[in-house]
């Protein structure tokens, strides 16, 4: 009961203080807001990057072309040799007839030309469609397959994948760095806000001490104040996440840059994200105020 009363007292005090020093509070709330918005944006970015790079990695298919003259047995040997490699996830065979049929059915013009080819005249090649388990090791796999006998060509959109992987890695690193820097700046600002509150309430604190308030009671309002600042600072970022991401998602119809890259569905993604942001606001506010209290409230 007594504890509850004290917490109630501290909370009331903390709220009063937030509004009494409103310009000051507003400054740190703004800072928390900016930080959290940027944190949210980088989280959205990296979550999506993580998401579609995973998709792309799963979807990357290399096409292995077999020499035209290869016999059925030789083709079978190639199949077994590829299958025995480490990094192979799936392996499908597509004969040149199947390729031909596919091409014919996809296009009128191709159809008219190809329909005149007999089975022996078909200049297309038998192919294997291969997907790998680990895209980072795709180069080794490609080299091994290339060195097989009767393999003509291995094609896997090399450059684009390499580029995407490096870009994703850079984005991830930059956003992690930005988040760390921003959190540090915000904590610093909260420490200073609470420090000023402590100074502006020196008289009150000394009277509290005089009439026998415990250290816990004296410190509590400031820690609560930090938490309240964090909470108030997370309101806008949460709204921005929920409405912003939803509208971005609808605007791009769930896709970004190319149809290959799909965005994460907003529900429940935005709610998880909001929870993380609110939690982060609270934690950052608490760390800041706790440090300020420790450093500037000599009781």
């Amino acid at each position: 009961m007594k504890l509850l009363r004290m917490i109630n007292f501290s909370l009331r005090d903390a709220f009063k203080s937030v509004f009494r020093n409103f310009s000051l509070s507003l400054a740190s709330i703004t800072c928390i807001t900016i930080t959290l918005v940027i944190v949210a944006v980088s989280l959205i970015l990296s979550a999506n990057v993580e998401n579609f790079s995973k998709k792309i990695r799963e979807d990357v298919t290399m096409v292995v072309y077999v020499n035209n003259g290869a016999t059925t047995e030789q083709v079978e040997t190639i199949r077994q040799q590829i299958a025995s490699l480490d990094n192979i996830a799936t392996l499908d065979f597509k004969s040149k007839d199947m390729v031909k049929q596919e091409m014919q059915s996809s296009d009128e013009f191709l159809n008219s030309i190809m329909s005149e080819w007999s089975a022996e005249e078909n200049p297309l090649k038998d192919t294997f469609l291969v997907t790998v388990k680990d895209i980072e090791k795709i180069k080794t796999t490609v080299t091994s397959i290339r060195s097989l006998e009767n393999v003509n060509l291995v094609d896997y959109g090399e450059e684009m994948i390499d580029k995407l992987i490096t870009v994703f890695k850079v984005i991830e690193k930059v956003s992690i760095g930005a988040v760390i820097a921003l959190v540090a700046v915000t904590i610093f600002l909260i420490i200073n806000t609470i420090k000023l509150t402590i100074y502006s309430r020196k008289r009150e604190i000394s009277i509290m001490r005089l009439v026998g308030a415990s250290n816990f009671t004296i410190k509590n309002p400031f820690v609560f104040e930090g938490i309240i600042l964090g909470l108030l600072g997370s309101i806008l970022p949460v709204l921005a996440i929920i409405f912003g991401y939803n509208s971005v998602y609808t605007h791009f119809d769930g896709k970004a840059i190319s149809p290959l890259i799909t965005l994460i569905k907003p529900t429940p993604f935005v709610y998880y994200l909001s929870a993380i942001i609110v939690l982060m606001g609270i934690v950052v506010g608490m760390i800041g105020s706790y440090r300020a209290v420790k450093r500037y409230l000599k009781v």
């Binding site: 007594k2 007292f9 009439v211």
Partner: protein
């Protein structure tokens, strides 16, 4: 157990800057006593009072207040002694943005008292100092004497056994000072609160005829029962 309410044994206080404010002080004060501490400027009156409420720690010696060894109290435990006593200063130390009622209630709020308890105790304390009609006024709407009575009400609201006053009439004219003394005397008589008051005010000391403890340059030089202001002792040579 100590028979006396306050026991000061061989206390010496040297400040960090090397100034020794109190030398080898031995003093006992009984429950319900009313004692003045007088002495010239810098004689150590405030230092003695500060040690009693553990604002300062004695460099040497022992101070026991109501069974609590104040000298040994750690910083985080200081609230224990503060809840046993009330303190009044020359400069009132009120919260300017809170009204009379809030100022007094504050002392109970911060120690976690119940709301109903806060209300009855606060009103009772304000009645005792004669300010029941001014509960909604703010400090800047009150005279110096009234502000000091608010401070006294705040000091006694938690029914402490001891009331420390450091020149409570220092900023008041003689008439208001006597008003404050009547309030303090009343508290001493009706509540049995032990009162220790440091003062410069000769007239008050002479009129009250209470115990007078005389300090000179940090040393106890006289201790009169029903004394009066000791001009001779105060005089600077």
């Amino acid at each position: 157990m100590y028979m006396e309410f306050i026991c000061i044994n061989d206390v010496t206080k040297q400040y960090k800057n090397g100034v020794t404010a109190i030398y080898d002080l031995n003093l006992k004060i009984k429950k319900g006593d009313f004692a003045f501490i007088i002495g010239g400027s810098g004689s150590g009156k405030s230092t003695l009072i500060k040690m009693l409420y553990r604002e300062e720690k004695p460099t040497r010696g022992e101070i026991v207040v109501g069974g609590l060894n104040v000298a040994k109290l750690r910083n985080s435990k200081v609230y224990k002694i503060r809840r046993k006593l009330g303190i009044v200063f020359q400069d009132y130390r009120l919260l300017p943005k809170s009204n009379v009622y809030e100022n007094v209630a504050f002392a109970l709020e911060v120690i976690g008292a119940k709301k109903t308890e806060i209300r009855t105790k606060t009103l009772k304390a304000l009645e005792l100092v004669g300010l029941k009609g001014k509960v909604r006024d703010y400090p800047d709407q009150l005279s110096g004497g009234e502000q000091q009575r608010v401070a006294i009400a705040r000091a006694i609201v938690n029914s402490p056994k001891l009331l420390l006053c450091d020149e409570p009439t220092g900023n008041l004219d003689p008439e208001m000072s006597m008003e404050i003394m009547r309030v303090l005397e009343n508290i001493n008589k009706t509540l049995g609160t032990t009162i220790i008051m440091a003062t410069h005010d000769k007239e008050i000391v002479n009129k009250m005829k209470k115990r007078v403890i005389v300090l000179k340059e940090g040393r106890l030089i006289n201790d009169y029962e029903k004394g009066k202001y000791d001009d001779e002792a105060i005089k600077n040579d």
